[in-house]
Assembly symmetry: C2
Homo-oligomer: 278 residues x 2
């Protein structure tokens, strides 16, 4: 027998399930389902905002969180070029994915917050070409290939929901690119704070008023393509104009409408609820 055969069959099962699931989603809409509360994992809360999951699916999702691991802040979880077999679901803490330039400067591509996947692509397609670093001590559920495949095979609609989440992540990267190219520092910061707020609210870690945020001004600088010093000035200006305050690890929105106008923030790219497969 072909040495890869068993894996091959499993992969086929995975994606076959996910495709079937996508069609199921077309017919379910956001109908009523089990109540989602703070006891559920962030990933569950995120997916439940867009897809009504059954009790069985909820249970399967929670089972994905069995292999709990922790990582200390500051040491890379995944390096460029590493072909890591496992993906992770972040359950608490923050991570950033970034690339280092030859001249030593760093560009942060995206942040991962609880409920987000890490390294999903390195499992499904190829090695990651950027690195992952925990920003604080994090807790993540290691998801081995086999666990993932098993879950997907048993609860195929989950596969579709997770692929949907991956596609949303891609849209965020594109929006990030647009911000770097065509927004000034103020609008970039405003947009960033608002996007993060929307993402966190989805997993119960923030409200319209604000959210806790462990990022330093250096993180913001590396994400937004600015110097840390200028980040500080921009934050001061947002604070003094009453739009938003970022102090002591807490982001507080003041005049949210003004902030949205400054950022030209249009959250459709975060909220696309349309069918996954047409």
């Amino acid at each position: 027998m072909h040495p890869y055969f068993s894996q091959e069959v499993r992969y086929a099962g995975l994606i076959q399930s996910s495709v079937r699931a996508a069609f199921s989603l077309l017919n379910c809409g956001r109908s009523e389902g089990p109540m989602i509360s703070a006891q559920h994992s962030p990933l569950t809360r995120k997916l439940s905002a867009f897809v009504a999951l059954s009790e069985a699916e909820l249970a399967a999702l929670e089972r994905l969180h069995q292999r709990r691991r922790t990582f200390v802040a500051g040491r890379d979880m995944v390096h460029q070029g590493q072909t890591d077999q496992a993906a992770y679901v972040l359950s608490s803490g923050w991570v950033c994915s970034y690339k280092i330039q030859p001249d030593g400067t760093r560009q942060i591509v995206d942040f991962q917050i609880p409920g987000d996947f890490l390294g999903l692509r390195s499992v499904l397609l190829r090695t990651s070409d950027h690195s992952f670093e925990p920003i604080v001590k994090i807790e993540a559920a290691e998801v081995l290939k086999d666990d993932l495949l098993k879950t997907f095979a048993e609860t195929p609609r989950l596969a579709a929901a997770i692929l949907w989440a991956a596609s949303r992540d891609e849209a965020m990267v594109v929006e990030h690119l647009v911000g770097l190219g065509r927004r000034d520092a103020d609008a970039r910061m405003a947009h960033f704070l608002l996007e993060l707020g929307s993402r966190l609210a989805l997993v119960g870690l923030g409200t319209k008023e604000g959210y806790d945020c462990p990022l330093t001004q250096y993180h913001l600088a590396d994400a937004l393509g600015l110097s840390a010093i200028h980040v500080n000035r921009v934050l001061r200006q947002l604070r003094e104009s009453g739009m938003a305050t970022f102090r002591n690890g807490r982001v507080s929105f003041g005049d949210r409408d003004k902030l949205v106008a400054l950022a030209e923030f249009d959250p459709v790219y975060l909220d696309h609820t349309g069918p996954l497969l047409i």
Copy 2:
């Protein structure tokens, strides 16, 4: 029967094939195959650079190009939010994908050159959230869902090769983001010209010396996050320093090593030949 059933089965077949194919690729390497010449389509040339394709696969690839269509320059092929059933393979001409900001500014996310797919994701996953505009009159092969599925089912290694190409496109977007965040105008331009050169050379549309390029300085500006005026000055500087000339629709490399050094151009993200699924 479920109204989507037949499509569902086809999708499952598609992805199942592609997964099986990915494993096949693991065992083939870049072994010898049929000779690839300029008579083949650009897509064929691109994929053949990384995967040895059989005669049958080559023939299937060419058959994908049957439904030829042309589009005039300047009018959008796909609008944001449009759920288009078809994807396209570009066979001649250039296209750009972009997003328009509320304030009217434009950010070009990527350019498509012959051999590239357009709207592949809108077929497989969801509606595109950016627009596509032909830069010159183009010729593209319309690939209907059913054609694609049939091809993939019959020649599964093609599915893997095409997924590989999609993953490469994603890596280019990330690299673009890094450039906007952390490179100055000169390095950004140098990097852009080099990347484009590598991509074009892969489909036989350029050499180490240079390539034809229909982009205006406004296109460059919108892609690189600069003003058209500054693009002009940067091009002049590259020209006067003998590194590269962009005039009359032609990019000519002068001192390529110097250009690579200026851009800190490291083409690994374009050349990753590793296994697709591990």
